[in-house]
Symmetry: C2
Subunit: 256 residues, 2 copies
DNA sequence: CCATCGGCTTGATTTGCATCAAATCGTCCG
DNA sequence: CGGACGATTTGATGCAAATCAAGCCGATGG
């Protein structure tokens, strides 16, 4: 592993707080690997031997049943994945597939579990990461069970706008059929939902979406901080856990 | 707090592995409280000051949006809840309501976080608990996104049968309208789904369901260990995390 | 440049589920 | 016991989303 890779790992929220020795243990058997687009990194049901850390590219996690497939989440750097399976030394519940060329750090699961037993600060970081991911899924379930597909799309767009802090234009970072599956609908209905949102100031040109009237869009979307996490990512906030405490941190830093 | 309560906490999987000092810190500010049925223990959005441990009774966790409510999970003893919010010191994403008279242990969140920093074994237990809950939600999302409502009911019945290891009869432990919400459907459609399952050997008498033909039911349900966790609870298996490693433990203990 | 292919859109149809409405059932209480 | 209430069931209807079927469009390659 290269020295630059070591530095990148050190900067991960998971390791930011860890003792030097912990870090040595964890990285001893680790390696960075590159994968072409469309590579299956992991199949659901497989035993999980490594913790994966996406350093560059995009990875999709999906689930399968009875010849149907659904996208559960799309990861962008820097994200860890299948941490829960590593902690429990259990089989994966989700399959992982690269969507683009990816650079991925793989840390042996044994090393992670050993490090947790040795270093409470590291174990705390793992817990925080897991707690953040857990809350992400709670939000996801509420989104699916309480909203219809157009409402989910509208909130997705508003969340993306807030996350990228990108004015009134949102870039879709993945194919629409993948976005559709992530939002729990068919590609056909995603098209139709976009059409519906035209009346609320949304226009689509390929992967560029412009939100001309966010007030109208919000009226339909009714975004809710207990479902939609609109913490702007990048900078301080890189892990799910950081995003989870963003709102309360915000109110503590700037009271009123 | 009574001495008998202390013993019950010691037996929790969360504390089974903890150092004596950890245990002292955690229980110092803890207390057991009793609540009547229908009590709101926690409202989504509230700051979470305690880790809750359900010792007796039933608790429902639900989410709300736009005047709609959905049941996210139903807890039976012994279960911890809102651990993720405690770890992150964040606001609750779910509301908690007692369904029956309940006995609940409340441990100050500060104490939990302090204990985690002091005792890596305890922090490991917290991580395992969180990882187990996380995987429960992954299963839940796959269930919702990949199956229709009758399939979900069929799998629910099969899972209950396996969990209670109760021959061919399953007891519904909660009102049907709550079960309906848990399974993501209306009470009306739950009725109709039960009617559909009659053709597969399912008959309902109040809260007693008999499965006369599990083979036929399984043919419709297509249960999958990567969605349905059929680990029999009670005895060794009390936490979600235990249930998660049940299958792999099983194959290690009894190879072939 | 044209042909091809995959992804996306649009339209027609079907299906699944929610909603609305009313009847039934069981339980609790005056 | 009679009545009331809530939970459940059953039936009728409407809507949302999936499916089926073409067309369109942009990228790619001969």
């Amino acid at each position: 592993m290269r020295a630059s890779d070591i530095d990148r790992i050190k900067a991960l929220p998971l390791f930011a707080d860890a003792a030097a020795e912990t870090f040595r243990v964890a990285t001893a058997g680790a390696h960075v690997q590159r994968f072409p687009p469309g590579t299956m990194l992991l199949l659901e049901g497989d035993p999980v031997d490594f913790l994966y850390v996406l350093l560059d590219g995009q990875v999709e996690l999906h689930g399968t049943w009875n010849d149907h497939e659904t996208v559960l989440t799309i990861l962008r750097p820097v994200s860890t994945f299948i941490l829960a399976a590593v902690v429990l030394d259990a089989a994966a519940l989700m399959s992982a597939r690269t969507l683009e060329r990816c650079e991925i750090l793989m840390i042996p699961g044994d090393a992670i579990r050993t490090a947790m037993r040795l270093d409470p600060r590291f174990a705390m970081s793992v817990s925080r990461d897991l707690a953040g991911c857990y809350r992400g899924l709670v939000r996801n379930i509420k989104n699916i069970k309480l909203r219809n597909s157009t409402e989910r799309l509208a909130n997705y767009l508003l969340a993306q706008r807030a996350i990228d802090s990108s004015g009134s234009t949102v870039i879709l970072h993945h194919e629409k059929r993948i976005l559709a599956s992530l939002l729990g609908m068919t590609p056909e209905n995603l098209s139709r939902s976009f059409a519906t949102l035209q009346k609320h100031g949304v226009s689509v040109q390929g992967s560029v979406v412009t939100l001309a009237n966010t007030a109208a869009l919000e009226q339909l979307a009714k975004p809710d901080p207990l479902i939609d996490n609109n913490a702007p990512r990048g900078g301080d906030i890189v892990a799910e856990a950081d995003a989870e405490i963003w709102l309360s941190e915000l109110s503590r830093t700037k009271p009123r």
